[in-house]
């Protein structure tokens, strides 16, 4: 919208119509603001005047409790960040490999295709928390030599396996969204099957699925909290400990704020990527 379409220099718009459009926009804004203010006022009044509000305020939004627990929450959140940073690249690699394995056509690779399909079916079908429980308590119990018994290791591994399956399907959808003519054109230009994938299909596929991928990242950020069931103290567990010590839920709200502080920038980033890629596509560019 910002840049005029190529080939069109200026478009004539009737000044009267332009004035009408401007007026409409201004009154729309006014109505919008008024309605929003009214809505907020109604909610605040209804909630604020409910008989239980004072208790809720004391148990969920207690300033002292917040100040007391917040530094500990931030410290514990560092574990979530570390789990996320380690898991995310591994998930992208596994996801891409599995997606490619599921799209190979040659009959000789049937076992790989079957294995990849089974992996996706199983790990996408089982709740993430169950995978964490099973790997975290099950693998160390085998007492195999060389297999670590560390809870964070297995928690992260479970997240990688679970999200790897989701991301594989996202990638596969992306690959499927690239029109077959692109492959045919690439092959007729003399590119090998590998080159076609590498230079023609995958770049377009990845660009198409960037928004859903970021969506999965955001989901992963929150699911790092699930690793707590194996024992490590991450932010949600820290909040739970503080909560049960004082019978006050404010630390949970603190933990929620920390997660939001991280996911909102990610969401805006995802929005921006989406807008940019839509614009690029309209401009007719490829890769």
């Amino acid at each position: 919208m910002n840049t005029p379409a190529p080939g069109t220099d200026t478009v004539y718009i009737d000044p009267l119509r332009r004035e009408r459009v401007r007026k409409k926009a201004r009154s729309d804004a006014l109505i919008g603001v008024a309605s929003l203010v009214g809505f907020v006022a109604v909610v605040v009044l209804l909630v604020g005047r409910s008989s239980g509000w004072e208790t809720v305020q004391k148990t969920f939004f207690n300033g002292d409790q917040f100040a007391e627990s917040f530094p500990g929450l931030l410290e514990a959140f560092w574990l979530n960040v570390r789990i996320f940073l380690i898991a995310e690249p591994l998930i992208l690699i596994i996801g891409l490999l599995v997606a490619l394995a599921r799209t190979v056509k040659s009959p000789i690779f049937l076992p790989i295709r079957v294995l990849a399909t089974m992996y996706v079916d199983i790990f996408r079908g089982v709740p993430t928390i169950l995978i964490i429980f099973l790997l975290g308590f099950g693998m160390p119990a085998l007492q195999l030599t060389g297999v670590p018994s560390d809870a964070i290791f297995w928690g992260t591994a479970a997240l990688v396996l679970s999200y790897g399956a989701y991301v594989a399907e996202v990638f596969r959808a992306g690959i499927g969204s690239v029109h077959p003519s692109q492959t045919m054109a690439a092959r007729s230009l003399g590119l090998s099957s590998f080159q076609t994938n590498r230079f023609v299909v995958l770049p377009q596929a990845v660009r198409n699925v960037t928004p859903p991928l970021l969506n999965d990242f955001i989901s992963l950020q929150k699911d790092t909290a699930l690793v707590a069931v194996l024992g490590p103290i991450e932010v949600l567990r820290r909040a739970q400990i503080d909560t049960s010590a004082n019978f006050n839920y404010t630390p949970y709200v603190g933990a929620a704020l920390i997660f939001i502080a991280l996911t909102i920038p990610m969401t805006r980033f995802a929005d921006w990527i989406q807008v940019r890629s839509a614009r690029k596509k309209r401009a007719g560019g490829v890769a």
């Binding site: 009214g38 004391k58 707590a228 739970q240």
Partner: protein, 297 residues
């Protein structure tokens, strides 16, 4: 067009005034109701407020008691609080009987520990779930007098390096686990002060699994649980030792909604049970053998 904006404002204003008057009348109604209950409460105080017919419970004629599930031995048996077996189940029925409730009039509710102290109305008269009485918690809920004085203990497998520990400093380098929200965890962080961050689990079962796996070296639980784990669950494990009680001591109390007048009557019942020796008998029946050497500094 501009008219529409003004109209919206007017409508919003109307809405506001409408709901504010609504809430006012509701508040008035509640105050009226409250004052009438207060009156009746003072009336009954003149008579015997703890007589069975004067007790006000959540479900009239019934005593509703909460506990978490799974309910662990030796506090409960077979995850079934209704069978009267296990220390806390027996205490609950003894209190109920003191208050005048027949065993058949006792109703059990599943109350996860985390929801037991949630604001708002409770769905139980009291909750019995090995909840330690602390001043911070007492600001949010009411506790009965203590019905059991509890110490914390460390459990480890016999072949663990921890098994021979007799001092607290020998515990410092170990990977210790405890259940979230328990005073056991407080003992790890405040008394042991380990060099490695403790492992915290949703419940005792998960802590035991991690102990069995070797993910952690030892678990900290209350002494009766430690006794049960070592005697009935893990053959080759032992209670390494117990911690000296904190200065004030630690007691389990029954948890009530803040301001519930039933606390007084339940406290009377508990005093009777203590004086008659019945509470001690229940304790001997279910928690006997729960002893271990004390850790020294």
């Amino acid at each position: 067009m501009r008219l529409a904006g003004v109209a919206t404002l007017a409508v919003a204003g109307l809405l506001l005034s409408a709901c504010s008057s609504d809430t006012e009348s509701v508040t008035e109604a509640t105050t009226a109701a409250e004052s009438s209950t207060e009156e009746s409460a003072t009336e009954s105080a003149a008579t015997d407020e703890c007589a069975y017919e004067n007790l006000t419970t959540i479900n009239p004629g019934m005593l509703t008691i909460g506990t978490d599930t799974p309910a662990y031995p030796p506090y409960f048996s077979d995850d079934d609080p209704t069978n009267g077996e296990g220390f806390e189940s027996a205490v609950a029925y003894a209190v109920a009987s003191q208050l005048g409730f027949a065993a058949t009039d006792v109703k059990w509710e599943v109350v996860p520990f985390n929801t037991s102290y949630a604001p708002g109305n409770k769905n139980f008269d009291f909750d019995i779930n090995q909840i330690s009485i602390t001043p911070e918690r007492s600001e949010v809920v009411d506790f009965s007098d203590g019905y059991y004085t509890v110490n914390q203990a460390v459990v480890a497998f016999n072949d663990s390096p921890l098994a021979g520990a007799t001092t607290i400093s020998e515990l410092k380098d170990a990977k210790l686990g405890a259940q979230v929200g328990t005073t056991s965890l407080d003992f790890v962080t405040e008394v042991v002060v380990p060099t490695q961050e403790p492992y915290v689990f949703n419940d005792t079962n998960d802590a035991k699994s991690a102990l069995q796996n070797g993910t952690i070296d030892g678990i900290v639980v209350d002494l009766p649980t430690a006794y049960y784990v070592t005697a009935a669950e893990f053959d080759d494990s032992k209670i390494v030792g117990q911690f000296q009680a904190t200065a004030s001591g630690e007691e389990f109390g029954l948890l009530f909604q803040k301001g519930n007048p039933l606390v007084t009557c339940v406290n009377n019942a508990l005093t009777t049970l203590k004086d008659s020796g019945e509470l001690q008998e229940i304790q001997d029946a279910w928690l006997a053998g729960a002893t271990a050497p004390y850790f020294t500094e």
